[in-house]
C-alpha cells in the first residue's frame, strides 16, 4: 500500500529534507563523546522505540507465534503434529465448515467490493462539482454511516430485516412480494442482507478517499479533454479514472483486507446462521478458538490461512495496479 501511494511524493520529500540537512551545523558543536549529529540520531531512536516495540510485541511476535502454534495439535497440552502441516491438510481437505466460511467470505468480497468501489467513485464524481449546491450536506449524509459501530448497524439491519419487520412490510405493501421473506434464515437472503449492510456502511468511507484524490487532479488534463471534444462520460473514464488509480488501488487493498477479516456482521447480524451459511472465516476462527471445544493449534492454522490470503491478494492487486499502463 505504502509503495503505491508513496512514490509520487518522493521528490517532494527529498526537496524538503535537503535544506534541513544543510541547515544542521556539521562540526561546530561537539558535545561529550558523541557528535551532535549522532546524539540527535540517538534521540530520534529513543522517540520511536516505544511505538516500534509495541508493534513488535503486539503484532509481529503473535504472528510468528501463531504460525508456530498452527503446526501443533492437542487440546490441553500442545505438541508438534506429524506431519507438521497436519492442521492445514485437515483445514483444506476435511473441514467442510471452513471451506463454506471461506466461500462465504470470498462471495462477500467478489460481490460487495466492486459494487461499493464503483458506487463510491460515482458518488465522489457527482459530488465534486464546484457549482453544486448543498455539497457539504450531501457529503455529510453519505459519510455519516461511518460514525456507527459495526455491531450497532448490524442490529439496525437485523431489526429492519426481521421477518415481521420494516423491509418485508414495505415490499409486501408495494406488492413486490406475495409473502414476507425470512431474510435472516434463508442463506442467500441473509448473505444479501450482509452485503447490503456492508455497502451501506462503507461506500461513504471510500467516497472520501476518492474526493481527496479528485481534489489533487491536474486541471489542465480536463481542459485538454474538453478541447478534444470528450463528453463527460468519456472524460470520466479516460481522464479521471487513470489519474485516480493510486487511490483506487489503495481502497481496493483496504476493502479486500477488511472483507477477509469480516467478523462483526457475521457475529451480530446473522450470527453466522442459518447453520454456518453466512459465517465468515474470522467468525469461524472465533468459534474454534473460544467455543466449547477450543483448539488453539487448529485455530491458529485458520488464522494463518487468513493472513496468507490477505497477503497474496494484496500482492496481486499491487502487481495489477502497477502494471496497467
Amino acid at each position: 500500500m505504502s509503495q503505491a501511494t508513496k512514490s509520487p511524493q518522493e521528490p517532494a520529500k527529498a526537496a524538503k529534507r535537503a535544506p534541513a540537512k544543510k541547515g544542521k551545523p556539521p562540526k561546530r558543536a561537539k558535545q561529550g563523546l558523541l557528535g551532535l549529529e549522532q546524539k540527535r540520531n540517538l534521540t530520534g531512536w529513543t522517540f520511536l522505540i516505544p511505538a516500534a516495540l509495541l508493534i513488535t510485541v503486539m503484532s509481529f511476535w503473535p504472528m510468528f507465534k501463531a504460525f508456530q502454534l498452527s503446526l501443533q495439535i492437542g487440546k490441553n497440552k500442545l505438541e508438534y503434529a506429524d506431519p507438521l502441516w497436519y492442521n492445514y491438510v485437515r483445514l483444506f481437505t476435511k473441514d467442510k465448515t471452513f471451506i463454506l466460511t471461506m466461500k462465504n467470505t470470498f462471495l462477500y468480497l467478489i460481490i460487495q467490493v466492486p459494487i461499493m468501489l464503483v458506487l463510491a467513485l460515482i458518488l465522489a464524481y457527482l459530488l465534486n462539482k464546484k457549482d453544486l449546491r448543498c455539497r457539504a450536506l450531501f457529503r455529510t449524509a453519505i459519510f455519516l454511516p461511518c460514525a456507527i459501530s459495526l455491531v450497532s448497524y448490524s442490529m439496525v439491519f437485523r431489526t429492519m430485516f426481521a421477518k415481521e419487520g420494516l423491509v418485508n412490510d414495505v415490499l409486501v405493501g408495494l406488492n413486490l412480494l406475495n409473502e414476507p421473506i425470512n431474510w435472516l434464515n434463508e442463506p442467500n437472503a441473509a448473505r444479501a442482507v450482509i452485503i447490503l449492510g456492508l455497502l451501506w456502511r462503507w461506500t461513504g468511507y471510500n467516497m472520501i478517499f476518492y474526493l481527496a484524490g479528485l481534489q489533487n487532479l491536474d486541471y489542465a488534463t480536463f481542459e485538454a479533454a474538453k478541447i478534444d471534444g470528450a463528453g463527460p462520460i468519456q472524460t470520466f473514464l479516460h481522464v479521471t479514472i487513470p489519474q485516480l488509480r493510486p487511490m483506487i488501488l489503495l481502497t481496493a487493498i483496504m476493502s479486500t483486507n477488511g472483507t477477509l477479516q469480516l467478523f462483526d456482521e457475521s457475529y451480530a447480524l446473522t450470527g453466522g446462521g442459518p447453520s454456518h451459511q453466512t459465517q465468515t472465516m474470522s467468525h469461524y476462527l472465533f468459534e474454534v478458538s473460544f467455543k466449547n471445544n477450543s483448539n488453539f493449534g487448529y485455530a491458529s492454522a485458520i488464522s494463518f490461512a487468513i493472513l496468507v490470503m490477505v497477503a497474496v491478494l494484496a500482492l496481486i492487486q499491487m502487481r495489477v495496479g502497477d502494471k496497467r499502463d
Partner: protein, 276 residues
C-alpha cells in the same frame, strides 16, 4: 441576454442527475439512522409494525434496558477504554512519527518500512497468541488487555510522520538555539503547532476504540463488557425487545455521531492524511 440565460439554465439542467442521485444516496444513508432513533422511542411491537414516527415508549425502553443490563458499567468501560487508548496512542505514535521524520536516517526508513508491513497483518492472525499472552500475565478480563494492543498502530505513526513534514525546520533550529532540549521542543512547540493532526488522529482513534468489538469480546469477562458487547448480547434471549435494542444502539452511537458531525473535516483528513 438570451444566450446568458440559456447558458445558466443549461448549467443547472446539467446538474439535475447529480442532485437526484446524491439525494437518493443521502436518504438511503440516513434512513437506517432515523429508523434507529425513532425506534428507540417505540415499543417492540411498534418497531416491528414499521412505525416511523416518534412514540412515547422511550422511558419504558430505558427502564427495561437498565433493569436487565448493567448499562452504566458498560458505558464506563467503553468510555475509559476509548479515552485511554486515544491518549496513549496519540502520545506514543506522534512522538514516533516525529522521531522518524525529524531525525531522519536510513536505518529509521528501514524500521518504518518493516512497521508498515504490520498493517497487512489481520487481527485474526494475532488474536490467539495475544490471548495466551494476556492470560499468562493474569490480565484476562482486564481493561489493560484491551488497551495495550491498540496503542501503537502503523497507520497512526505514518499519519504523524507525513504531517511532520510540514513542521518548519527553522522553528526547530530556533528552539535549539534558545536552549530547548529535544523533548522540550516536541512537547512545547511541536504538539501545539500540530493541533489539527492531533484532532484528526484523536477522532479516528476514539471512534475505532469505541466501536471495537472482536478483541474486547475475546479478552473481557462477561462482567466487564463494553457497550458493543452488551448490544450484541441483547438478541441472545428468546424474544428480542427491539425498542430496547434500538435504544442501546442509539446510546452507543450518540457520542461517535456527535464527534463525527463536529470534527468531520478532521476525520476525513485523518483517514486520508497518512497517504497524501
Amino acid at each position: 441576454m438570451i444566450s446568458v440565460i440559456s447558458d445558466k439554465a443549461k448549467r443547472i439542467w446539467r446538474l439535475v442527475p447529480n442532485y437526484v442521485f446524491l439525494s437518493i444516496a443521502s436518504v438511503v444513508s440516513i434512513f437506517p439512522l432515523y429508523f434507529m432513533a425513532v425506534s428507540a422511542t417505540n415499543t417492540s411491537q411498534e418497531v416491528l409494525g414499521s412505525k416511523l414516527l416518534p412514540g412515547g415508549n422511550l422511558a419504558e425502553n430505558w427502564r427495561n434496558l437498565v433493569a436487565n443490563n448493567d448499562v452504566g458499567r458498560a458505558l464506563l468501560a467503553s468510555f475509559v477504554i476509548a479515552v485511554a487508548i486515544t491518549v496513549l496512542s496519540l502520545l506514543v505514535c506522534s512522538i514516533a512519527g516525529y522521531g522518524f521524520e525529524i531525525y531522519h536516517s536510513k536505518g529509521k526508513d528501514v524500521v518504518m518500512a518493516i512497521l508498515l508491513l504490520a498493517m497487512m497483518i489481520p487481527f485474526a492472525a494475532t488474536m490467539i497468541p495475544l490471548f495466551q499472552l494476556f492470560r499468562n500475565m493474569h490480565m484476562y478480563g482486564s481493561w489493560f488487555a484491551v488497551i495495550i494492543p491498540a496503542i501503537s498502530t502503523p497507520f497512526m505513526i505514518l499519519l504523524f510522520r507525513q504531517s511532520s513534514r510540514n513542521f518548519p525546520h527553522e522553528v526547530l533550529e530556533a528552539a535549539r538555539l534558545d536552549g530547548l532540549r529535544e523533548l522540550g521542543i516536541f512537547v512545547r512547540i511541536y504538539m501545539p503547532t500540530m493541533r489539527a493532526t492531533y484532532a484528526a488522529a484523536a477522532t479516528i482513534t476514539f471512534m475505532n476504540a469505541w466501536n471495537n468489538f472482536m478483541w474486547p469480546r475475546v479478552i473481557l469477562k462477561p462482567g466487564t463488557q463494553t457497550l458493543p458487547i452488551l448490544i450484541s448480547n441483547l438478541t441472545a434471549g428468546y424474544v428480542t425487545d427491539y425498542g430496547g435494542l434500538m435504544l442501546a444502539v442509539l446510546l452507543a452511537s450518540l457520542p461517535t455521531v456527535v464527534i463525527f458531525l463536529v470534527l468531520q473535516r478532521s476525520f476525513a483528513e485523518g483517514i486520508t492524511g497518512a497517504i497524501k
